[in-house]
């Protein structure tokens, strides 16, 4: 589809631009401003130059050590859940019935976790995995394993990962299901005539067709898991110790807990830049992969 050149289209975009700019540009300027200053309460600010950034990026300082630890935990969490959710999502999508009542019921059940408020997700898993009142914790204890996520870092991580897999695998599965449904029947018929095995059908027909939705799924899941705050906050509060203190939790602790505005702001900027860089790479790959036939605005030009 060709697009006509018309700069008056700006008027249609103006409300969106104004609304998002109000929300994005002013606050971001505040953050940048804070990140170069030091505060001593009473709204007194002192110029600190790039001091906070130097401290933040120096792993041997207290702030830097804290930052890199939290960054490592966030990265481990994101990679871990991606490694589980993407294959599992594809598997579930392949196993879903193609139509009928079973599909309708399945879709409703699968979409349900997506619409649970995030702190309720945390709460559900708190109730589900506590060894004294939860089914999951009680079952594991009954098997003979001493399960208590508030005392063991490994078990706290198990709960967080299990919770995220419960919460979001359906998103990947629904995306893949939509992708699978868009494959024309002729492909499958041709494969059947050629006597292709189930595995070959998956490898050479389904997987390539899923490429685009998978990229979107990975992008969305990476973004959201790297920014996760509420669920670990409710389930573990970042503990035991600091073992589940991911970047967002650490940031809020510094900003709203200790009111170290300069440190928090510098951390915010570096954090945002990391997220944006990774997403930009994904996005560029997504757009170039599609080629000019796809109808995204970037690819179309």
């Amino acid at each position: 589809m060709t697009k006509s050149v018309d700069n008056r289209a700006w008027f249609l975009v103006l409300p969106v631009f104004a609304l998002v700019a109000f929300n994005a540009i002013l606050p971001l300027m505040t953050v940048v401003n804070y990140s170069f200053q030091d505060s001593f309460g009473n709204n007194q600010f002192f110029w600190n130059g790039i001091g906070w950034y130097q401290e933040l990026l120096d792993p041997s300082s207290e702030l830097g050590g804290r930052f890199f630890d939290a960054l490592g935990r966030s990265a481990a969490f994101s990679l871990g859940i991606l490694a589980i959710e993407v294959p599992l999502g594809i598997l579930v999508a392949l196993c879903m019935p193609r139509e009928g009542t079973q599909l309708a019921i399945g879709l409703v059940i699968m979409a349900l976790p997506l619409l649970v408020p995030w702190n309720v997700v945390g709460m559900i898993w708190l109730l589900y995995t506590r060894s004294d009142i939860g089914l999951f914790g009680w079952l594991i204890n009954a098997v003979g394993i001493d399960f208590n996520a508030t005392r063991s870092a490994a078990q706290a991580w198990l709960v967080l990962v299990a919770m995220d897999v419960w919460h979001w695998t359906s998103l990947v599965a629904l995306l893949c299901f939509a992708g699978l449904k868009s494959i024309p029947d002729a492909y499958y018929q041709a494969a059947r005539i050629d006597g292709a095995s189930r595995l070959a059908i998956f490898r050479y027909i389904e997987l390539p067709k899923l490429g685009r939705v998978l990229m979107i799924g990975v992008l969305l899941r990476f973004m959201d898991s790297f920014m996760i705050y509420t669920e670990p906050f409710v389930v573990t509060g970042g503990g035991p110790g600091n073992s589940t203190t991911v970047l967002s939790i650490d940031l809020v602790k510094i900003a709203l807990g200790q009111f170290d505005l300069g440190k928090a702001a510098a951390m915010s900027i570096v954090y945002t830049l990391i997220v944006l860089t990774v997403c930009w790479v994904f996005y560029t790959v997504l757009v170039t992969r599609d080629g000019p036939t796809q109808d995204s605005p970037e690819a179309r030009s």
């Binding site: 289209a9 929300n23 879903m96 349900l112 702190n119 309720v120 589900y128 939705v213 997403c279 030009s301």
Partner: protein, 262 residues
């Protein structure tokens, strides 16, 4: 056959934690803390009774539903013309603008919590539904533009041109002809705006004095001597709006994922 077993096993795993939540919500606190029962041995409605008779909980629900509804309406109404523009025209800086919009969907909410607090306090919106509704626009508007742009690009341009020849003015064409054509897309976009605003806690908590239903629940978590049954009942009630939304869009969920970009 194996496929069905895997599928149903997955559904069961999804339902188990939810079942446990519902189960606990009908139990008294003594039963919760002393015995492990798979269903309530002495079912009680006490937890729900507390919530329905307490104005605090009731106001929390009303407050949350109000800002979610406001946010959905604002997001969709500004995103529709923008998505149309991105889909049909090329104009100065369109690609940069589109990517810049998307970056806002990717920015961590934790980064914005403190500046938002300052910004909305300074313009006198702190602790109102408008503060939360506007703040949530930062991730919902880009998402709505993205989804709607996908749907609008699926509508042939000839329809626009025919309407123009028939003498329709642009606003009339847009509302009378175009919007019904992309009703599915609007539904899907509204679903996602509703979902992300309804589930968000950090900004809702920062911008209000614990008025949102999610913050009221967090407060009961941190209080000493947790009332598990009450908490579970509140959790069950927060599932209802989402479940209703899903029920209404259930036939469009798969279609929405396929056509839209999400």
């Amino acid at each position: 056959m194996t496929r069905r077993i895997i599928f149903y096993a997955y559904l069961v795993c999804l339902m188990l934690p939810l079942y446990w939540l519902i189960n606990l919500s009908f139990k008294g606190n003594i039963e919760i803390s002393t015995t492990m029962t798979l269903w309530p041995s002495e079912p009680t409605l006490r937890n729900y009774a507390i919530i329905f008779t307490s104005p605090e909980w009731f106001d929390g629900f009303r407050f949350s539903l109000t800002y979610v509804a406001l946010n959905t309406v604002i997001s969709i109404s500004v995103a529709l013309p923008a998505a149309y523009a991105f889909s049909r025209y090329s104009f100065l800086g369109d690609k940069h603008l589109f990517f810049w919009l998307l970056t806002n969907r990717m920015a961590p909410a934790a980064v914005f919590a403190l500046p938002y607090f300052n910004l909305y306090s300074s313009i006198g919106l702190f602790d109102s539904v408008w503060a939360v509704a506007l703040a949530h626009c930062i991730f919902n508007v880009p998402l709505a533009v993205w989804i709607l742009e996908g749907f609008i690009s699926g509508v042939p341009r000839e329809i626009d041109e025919t309407a123009r020849i028939d003498g329709y003015s642009f606003p009339r064409f847009f509302v009378k002809i175009f919007m019904p054509l992309i009703a599915n897309g609007i539904g899907v976009a509204a679903f996602f705006c509703f979902m992300f605003s309804w589930v968000e806690l950090l900004l809702a908590r920062t911008l209000t004095n614990s008025k949102a239903i999610s913050s009221i629940m967090t407060r009961s978590v941190s209080a000493s001597g947790i009332d598990w049954g009450l908490l579970a009942a509140a959790g069950v009630l927060t599932l209802i709006p989402g479940a209703l939304v899903i029920w209404f869009v259930r036939n469009h969920i798969a279609k929405g994922f396929a056509l839209g970009r999400v």
